[in-house]
């Protein structure tokens, strides 16, 4: 249990998707203009992460990894399909996003309308594929650890985008040098936020 909590806290604050790995930057910069939409996107990303990473973990462990197919019989024990993982992961993610989109459209049209084009774009959000690839690289043990990693990464992303959106809303009233307006100042802002987040480095439970 302690281990799970440790992974959870670590993936929120220390290995933060945005501040430590820059994953999901494109939509992070594009959608963080108002707090309302960024909350919606943050929730959607967390949700999709929470579904896709454990599913990809199961696929990786029981189908792709070296020796993963041994449950089919001894002759399959040496197969290593891990070179296929990019393709399978992205297919799972695209399919999951499609399903999530249909579910949200059916049960919450208001949320669906506010997310608009961003929902399908989650499929190509690097944070989602990145989390699956990190899951594969870091070799977590068991589905519980993977799920807590996925949830932590999602919440970390959520906090980062809502924080930036809040700052950008205030920034509208300040006098930024013309060439820095818009994109430039946003980059520097994210950099400063990342420096602040680095203060949390080394936390352990």
């Amino acid at each position: 249990m302690e281990n799970l909590l440790n992974i959870f806290i670590k993936s929120i604050f220390i290995d933060n998707m945005i501040f430590a790995y820059f994953l999901g930057m494109c939509s992070y910069l594009a959608v963080s203009k108002t707090v309302r939409t960024s909350v919606g996107l943050g929730i959607a990303v967390t949700f999709v992460l929470l579904i896709t990473v454990p599913v990809n973990y199961l696929i990786d462990t029981y189908l792709l990894k070296k020796g993963a197919l041994s449950w089919l019989g001894a002759s399959f024990a040496d197969l290593d399909l891990s070179f296929l993982s990019f393709m399978i992961f992205i297919a799972v993610i695209a399919a999951m996003v499609q399903i999530v989109e249909m579910v949200i459209e059916k049960f919450s049209p208001a949320l669906y309308n506010s997310l608009g084009i961003f929902l399908p774009l989650i499929a190509v959000n690097c944070a989602i594929l990145g989390a699956s690839l990190f899951m594969q690289e870091r070799e977590y043990h068991g589905i519980a650890e993977v799920t807590s990693f996925a949830l932590g990464s999602g919440i970390g992303w959520f906090l980062a985008i809502v924080g930036l959106a809040a700052i950008r809303e205030k920034l509208r009233y300040s006098n930024v040098p013309a060439p820095l307006r818009g994109l430039g100042i946003t980059f520097i802002l994210v950099g400063l936020m990342a420096i602040a987040f680095m203060g949390l480095m080394g936390i352990k439970l």
Binding site: F19, L23, C26, M87, A123, E137, P177, P179, G191, M198
Partner: protein, 217 residues
């Protein structure tokens, strides 16, 4: 599509496809595409170069493939077709890197795989390759890859020089004897936040030189 067949291969218009993404229409600083990987691989110059090369190859080739197939791809499933083409190319690049440049491939870790979700690819395929001929798409891909690579190399150069005092692993600062004069490396440069701030500064410089790029409030 409307251009006549006899247009020379490198006419002024085609050449512009190649050069405009390097400057005025840069994928990173102007189109805001493909930032994710651009920042993470620039701690050292060498992985940045490899990454720039890989992305350029994948963009150019996938642009050609999709452009050649564009009239046959049903509109509704185009995204998944594009993803499959990109993923196949990325798998090839990944395997080649693992075979011939294993240490760099280890340094790049997940970011080779993340070329698949690099927005430059989808962006260029959607915006350009789906409506232009293969040769033009190829030039567009090369140009965008080069524009992306340029930023990566600039950021990578400064981070490596100021952060570790080397260029491509060659200890420049030490050879110049600056350490004995009291110079110290700026450890901040190696950490992720400085990559963001450097890109912010590059944008600042570019937009001060070219006022037409300045955003309205």
């Amino acid at each position: 599509m409307s251009t006549p067949e006899k247009e020379p291969l490198l006419s002024a218009k085609n050449l512009k496809l190649l050069t405009s993404p390097v400057g005025k229409n840069n994928p990173i600083t102007v189109q805001v595409l493909g930032i994710c990987s651009a920042l993470a691989v620039t701690v050292k110059l060498k992985p940045a170069l490899v990454m720039a090369l890989s992305v350029t190859i994948v963009v150019a080739v996938s642009n050609v493939v999709i452009s050649a197939l564009r009239s046959r791809i049903p509109d509704r499933i185009r995204i998944i077709v594009q993803l499959v083409v990109i993923a196949t190319l990325v798998i090839i690049v990944d395997q080649v890197l693992k075979a011939y440049a294993f240490d760099v491939s280890k340094q790049l870790s997940v970011f080779v795989g993340l070329i698949i979700t690099n927005c430059i690819l989808m962006g260029r395929l959607e915006a350009f390759a789906m409506s232009n001929s293969p040769w033009k798409s190829f030039l567009d891909g090369l140009g965008n890859g080069a524009g992306y690579g340029l930023i990566l190399i600039v950021v990578g150069f400064f981070r490596e020089l100021l952060g570790s005092g080397t260029v491509m692993g060659y200890p420049v600062i030490q050879k110049l004897g600056l350490y004995s004069a009291g110079y110290e490396n700026n450890g901040m440069m190696i950490l992720p936040p400085m990559a963001l701030i450097l890109v912010g500064l590059i944008i600042w410089v570019q937009r001060s030189r070219d006022k037409s790029l300045i955003e309205n409030k």
